[in-house]
């Protein structure tokens, strides 16, 4: 039966049908739904791990123990997991092991657009890349087979346009695979110099055998059409090329590393002009040129962002696909942009309002709260990667003594568990004095509300220990640890002022569940027009429920959840919760 599945659903389905026993991940767009879908199969034990490095390491243990394993992450997650990945390559597997990494060309929801294919070459591991949901499912099954046959971890690269595009998939049944017997093999699995010297040789030999596999596998496919133009491509670019150049011959690579040398030579010899269409890095192009094959790639196509059919047609055929004039909305002024914003009632809002008001240097981090950098809050000085908020904050005051007493590091609860704890230990150990605000909204909100070690619930819904952030901070040596309600503006303001200036490390846990999770009945706030001076102070909160209409400020009762932060900001007592007007 054919079902309409997203790439992520198809990857999960492929793992299910391939008999995968265990799966782990840390959420990250566009990879998150892989584990969410896997979690629904009771035959599979699936877990959110604390971060990607941990997910990979747990997965490694499970594969060595004999299980078939899938681990998933977004592209930047692979940076976090790179250390175990590089050495896992030397160890080999026992049960089949597949690592899915989802790239984000065009940065629809990421802080960079690195090309994960480089990791395959770096770690000397095979990498597959599907071009639609059917292939996503099929490739997972082949990848696990290859993993066991070649005794290697295997990578599968997805991208936003594969993970989040739905197409029809033929679904099948699960084929049970028994857990492979475990036997100790320390010479193979204890990575220390004497063993690793031997294992590196094995890795290089394995790569040679994989090169042979690349020549033979059906993952790579020659599509002969007209011979004037030949294009080498993979993944989403294959679909874009098919759209743009329906007549061109194509070498479609399903195995993107290692490359099939003879196949490339055969294809090059069979066409008049040879092109590579690949998003981001010239990964194929450089390897093909190194073989002495003349090919055009990045001299035509950008190194940044996505590559669409019109551009392909324009660069290769000399004309874009469609030429009717663009219907312009308005010739003079582009329409106002609609950037993402903190939701009405978001507990992060008050924090950034106050940080801006107190003119503090904010070392930010990644999560919904990164939106605190946007107008009108604009209360963030830098944001690098998950966990960097606390450690970079320490660096600010170490690098410039004048900043001492002004540096506030901001981090979310999920991010604190992910990679904030080691940074906080560093602050304490190295006699820092920064204030760390842990924005504890009780969930991983940015990626769509996943559980984490602080929520007391596992991915598959089992109750578990809820780790206590305050106790962790105290155990890490922070003496000054306080908790405050994100909706209590006065208390929050006082504690930030006091703790930012404190001559020792301090932590303030700002508590309040994500407003989207609170399903209780809401009483919206309303404005007393007599009292409202129209000063617009409340507008500095950047709340979507507030708007200015001429001189007046209005509240959209359909959006307002009655958090009451604007009530506390107003100097004229003009805002109140509905129903409390007469009080």
């Amino acid at each position: 039966m054919k079902k309409l599945l997203s790439g992520n659903e198809a990857i999960a389905r492929g793992a299910y049908e391939a008999g995968v026993h265990f799966a782990a991940a840390y959420p990250g767009t566009p990879s998150t739904e892989i584990l969410e879908n896997l979690a629904a199969y009771e035959e599979i034990e699936a877990q959110w791990s604390t971060n990607e490095k941990v997910a990979l390491e747990v997965g490694i243990g499970a594969a060595l123990a004999g299980a078939r394993v899938l681990v998933a992450m977004k592209h930047v997650g692979l940076n976090v997991a790179a250390d175990p990945l590089m050495t896992f390559s030397y160890l080999g597997v026992n049960g089949g092991f597949l690592l899915v990494t989802a790239d984000d060309p065009g940065m629809h929801s990421s802080q960079n657009e690195q090309d994960s294919r480089q990791y395959a070459r770096f770690a000397k591991l095979p990498m597959l890349e599907p071009s639609d949901s059917q292939e996503a499912k099929d490739f997972v099954q082949e990848a696990l087979r290859v993993s066991e046959e070649f005794d290697t971890p295997v990578l599968l690269r997805s991208s936003t346009r594969i993970s989040h595009a739905q197409s029809l998939v033929e679904v099948g049944e699960r084929r049970e695979v028994s857990i492979r017997p475990y036997s100790k093999d320390a010479a193979k699995r204890v990575a220390m110099p004497a063993n690793s010297r031997r294992r590196h040789v094995v890795v290089e030999e394995r790569l040679q055998r994989l090169r042979q596999y690349a020549e033979e596998t059906a993952l790579n496919r020659l599509e002969w059409r007209r011979r004037e133009i030949g294009v080498i491509c993979a993944g989403i670019s294959y679909q874009q090329v098919r759209e743009a150049l329906p007549e061109a011959s194509i070498l479609k690579l399903g195995l993107v590393y290692p490359l099939p040398v003879q196949l490339l030579q055969e294809f090059a010899a069979g066409v008049d002009k040879l092109y590579v269409v690949e998003e981001l890095d010239p990964f194929f192009e450089k390897q093909i040129k190194a073989l002495g094959i003349a090919v055009k790639g990045k001299e035509l196509f950008p190194l940044t962002g996505e590559i669409f059919p019109n551009l392909i047609a324009e660069k290769i055929l000399g004309k874009p696909l469609t030429v009717p004039p663009v219907i312009k909305a308005d010739s003079e002024e582009p329409p106002p942009v609609r950037p993402p914003v903190l939701c009405p009632g978001c507990p992060h809002r008050s924090v950034f309002y106050l940080l801006r008001k107190q003119k503090l240097l904010v070392s930010g981090d990644i999560g919904c709260y990164t939106l605190g950098a946007s107008a009108p809050l604009e209360a963030m000085d830098s944001c690098i990667c998950m966990g960097a908020g606390i450690s970079a904050g320490l660096g600010y005051e170490k690098g410039n003594p004048e900043l001492k007493g002004k540096v506030v590091s901001v981090i979310g609860d999920s991010t604190f568990f992910h990679s904030g704890m080691t940074g906080l230990a560093d602050v304490v150990y190295n006699r820092g004095t920064t204030l760390t605000l842990i924005l504890d909204n009780r969930i991983t909100a940015m990626t769509g509300h996943q559980d984490h070690p602080g929520t007391g619930r596992t991915l598959q819904g089992q109750p578990t220990v809820a780790l206590d952030i305050g106790a962790i901070c105290r155990a890490l040596g922070v003496q000054r640890v306080q908790e405050v309600d994100a909706y209590d503006l006065a208390a929050l303001e006082a504690v930030i002022r006091e703790e930012a200036a404190a001559p020792e490390p301090s932590v303030v846990i700002v508590r309040r569940a994500c407003a989207l999770l609170d399903k209780s009945a809401k009483t919206a706030c309303c404005i007393d027009e007599e009292q409202c001076s129209g000063c617009g102070l409340c507008m500095q909160l950047g709340c979507p429920a507030l708007a200015r209409e001429g001189r007046r400020i209005v509240i959209d009762a359909a959006l307002c959840v009655g958090c009451g932060v604007c009530v506390q900001v107003c100097k004229f007592g003009a805002i109140m919760k509905a129903g409390e007007e007469d009080a």
Partner: protein, 197 residues
């Protein structure tokens, strides 16, 4: 070349674009056609612009739609219709809700909400740039059916008017996609939209 139909669906995060595209996808699937649906998740969901592409026909390669390629533009908010207009080919169909949701740059007074969107669209329809222009206030229609959240489905009713699929296919798809307890109100909203134009 086999004909592919391309539909761009846009709105504001939270308006239910994804559900509307799901229902439409179900209709297309029920007619045994090839299709691809492409969504943008993530940051876009926090009240930002949301965009979904639906392409169907006998064979579909790219899941994406580029400027000037859409046969239909379905917009749940008029500023989004305005913004997404370049996707539509000349003579294409625009189905749009006249609802207004102010984006943050407008709320904080940095930019102005374009005041004349609907008259400008009407002018484009009058000179034939738009082949077909259908606008309703989908929110009001849905509210009248007692389910403000069904504005997406009310506007889908308008789109259904212009597509080649019979109305029964939509009702069937609604029942397959919408949870039981919301079904009656959604059916009513869909039919109200369908008969509103």
């Amino acid at each position: 070349m086999p004909k592919t139909t391309s539909i761009v669906m846009g709105g504001v995060g939270g308006q239910g674009i994804v559900l509307a595209s799901k229902i439409l996808a179900q209709v297309i699937q029920d007619h045994q056609l090839e299709l691809k649906v492409s969504e943008i998740h993530g940051m876009a969901q926090r009240g930002g612009s949301v965009l979904t592409f639906v392409r169907y026909g006998t064979a579909v390669h790219a899941p994406l739609i580029e400027q000037r390629q859409a046969d239909y533009l379905f917009a749940l908010e008029k500023l989004e219709a305005w913004r997404l207009l370049p996707y539509l080919r000349t003579g294409g169909t625009l189905v749009c809700s006249t609802q207004e949701i102010k984006p943050m740059p407008v709320i904080i007074g940095q930019q102005q909400y374009p005041p004349q969107i609907i008259p400008a669209l009407e002018a484009l329809a009058a000179d034939g740039t738009l082949g077909n222009f259908l606008a309703i206030n989908a929110l009001e229609v849905a509210c009248a059916c007692g389910q403000p959240k069904a504005a997406n489905v009310a506007l889908l009713g308008v789109l259904a008017r212009t597509l080649e699929f019979p109305v029964d296919s939509f009702l069937h798809a609604l029942a397959a996609v919408v949870p039981e307890r919301f079904l009656a109100a959604n059916r009513e909203a869909f039919l109200a939209g369908f008969h509103a134009v």
